[in-house]
């Protein structure tokens, strides 16, 4: 099925899974790769001329720029940031929006090996039915900084973890993360 998909079809399938992942934090959904890369697939799905991006990953970003018409920016200005691993220094700099326009905030897409190992946490908040125990593929200090960035809702950062096994899970700014 994946081999048969054109780019539009790939984008809409990946978007739907991305939307479900954001609406149900902690749940894992599938991302279909583009050009053998799930990061490239996310970039192709999210980017278009009205948004900007920053990347610190391997991949054919010249092709992504050519097919999406998107501009690359510094980390502190970018709407979407594509990272190989969760990076605390970059998270520190990204924009969180402002009180009138909280949507002027950054979205991080962080690569990881898999979504089964990492820091054990309990998630709660919108999209979570009560509380949900899971693991997040990021170190404690990164998740602590994320919690600090998201402390003053509606300001904050939305984050997706993207595994090499083609899984995606999301942490919107509304999700409360408690460490086990």
């Amino acid at each position: 099925m994946i081999a048969d998909m054109d780019l539009e079809q790939l984008n809409r399938n990946n978007f739907r899974n991305c939307l479900e992942a954001l609406a149900r934090p902690g749940n894992v959904y599938q991302v279909y790769p583009y050009n053998h890369s799930v990061i490239m697939a996310m970039a192709s799905m999210l980017l278009y001329p009205e948004v900007t991006f920053y990347q610190q990953t391997e991949g054919d970003w010249n092709m992504i720029k050519a097919i999406t018409g998107t501009t690359e920016r510094e980390a502190h200005e970018a709407d979407y940031l594509f990272l190989d691993v969760p990076d605390k220094n970059i998270l520190q700099d990204v924009k969180s929006g402002n009180q009138q326009n909280p949507e002027f905030s950054a979205t991080l897409i962080c690569g990881c090996q898999n979504l089964k190992s990492g820091t054990s946490v309990i998630l709660s908040g919108p999209g979570v039915n009560g509380r949900r125990q899971t693991t997040l593929p990021a170190p404690v200090d990164f998740l602590e900084l994320l919690a600090e960035k998201n402390r003053h809702f509606p300001l904050g950062v939305d984050l997706y973890f993207l595994s090499r096994e083609h899984g995606i899970c999301a942490l919107p700014r509304t999700t409360q993360v408690d460490f086990l």
Binding site: R12, N13, L19, E20
Partner: protein, 278 residues
């Protein structure tokens, strides 16, 4: 379908709507502006809901479209026909079978489940419009969490009439933060938004705005602590077709007679089938 790509909208239009949708889900109840496109129906006839549906729909989805609970009204049929003409998806009138339900002014009676998306058509997305006409000021009031003018409106109604006079579009607070317009659904449907397992998306094409309520999110009507939120009740009334009680009814006047039928036609049909089987 041959004249357009899948789901009518071009790729960049979908990406713009999808960007706004993701922000809306991350900010429950917050109104996200977006570049609303011209659609082949007039603005104000469901173009916001239509653009959301077309941006999220997949080949494997099963679509249901209702207008005030009815699968067979002109607006619902035209929107359903248009979506199927550009996507070839399957359609249904059964709430339990649908994966995407586009609705105007009702939430289906049948309990919604996870993996369903409810797309509302919204005429007036800004809840503060009735008390503050200035859009810049409205934005500032949301930023400050300043809903005092809504509370004053509520107080004036309560002091003069004993309760709020708002019959539909009752203001709700989402996730204890933003106050939003739930679209012109009756008060009967407001408690059913609270902690709903389905994802709820709201689109206002004419106003170029959208917002969302993620699943399992707190949705509370604005109400004074010492006043109970009262939904519409129909004491002693049952549906003339299926005999259902304690649901939301359409009142039909035939001469001097008032007759009542289930507002949700699929729910009514299902009851009829059960009655026939019994």
């Amino acid at each position: 379908m041959s004249d357009h790509g899948f789901a009518f909208l071009d790729g960049d239009a979908k990406k713009e709507i999808r960007r706004a949708l993701l922000k809306a889900v991350a900010l429950p109840g917050y109104i996200v502006p977006f570049a609303s496109r011209e659609m082949p129906v007039a603005r104000g006839w469901g173009t916001g809901g239509l653009q959301i549906t077309l941006s999220i729909i997949l080949e494997q989805d099963v679509l249901k479209v209702i207008d005030q609970g009815c699968d067979g009204s002109v607006n619902a049929i035209n929107i359903r026909n248009f979506i199927t003409s550009v996507t070839k998806v399957m359609t249904t009138s059964k709430t339990s079978r649908a994966s995407i339900i586009q609705t105007r002014h009702r939430i289906p009676e049948h309990e919604l489940r996870e993996n369903q998306v409810l797309v509302f058509q919204v005429p007036y997305p800004e809840v503060l419009t009735t008390v503050e006409p200035d859009t810049a000021q409205q934005k500032q009031m949301h930023a400050d969490g300043d809903y005092s003018k809504l509370w004053v409106l509520l107080y004036e109604d309560t002091s003069q009439y004993g309760d709020s006079r708002i019959s539909n579009r009752y203001p709700v607070q989402v996730n204890n933060h933003f106050v939003m317009d739930p679209s012109p659904i009756p008060k009967y449907d407001i408690p059913r938004m609270d902690n709903c397992p389905a994802l709820q998306l709201f689109g206002a094409g004419r106003e170029k705005r959208m917002y969302a309520i993620p699943p399992y999110t707190t949705v509370k009507p604005l109400k004074f602590d010492d006043r109970e939120f009262k939904i519409e009740v129909f004491p002693g009334v049952c549906c003339e077709r299926c005999g259902a009680r304690d649901v939301f009814f359409d009142e039909v006047r035939l001469g001097s007679d008032r007759r009542y039928f289930c507002s949700d036609t699929e729910f009514c049909d299902k009851n009829m089938e059960k009655n026939d089987a019994a």
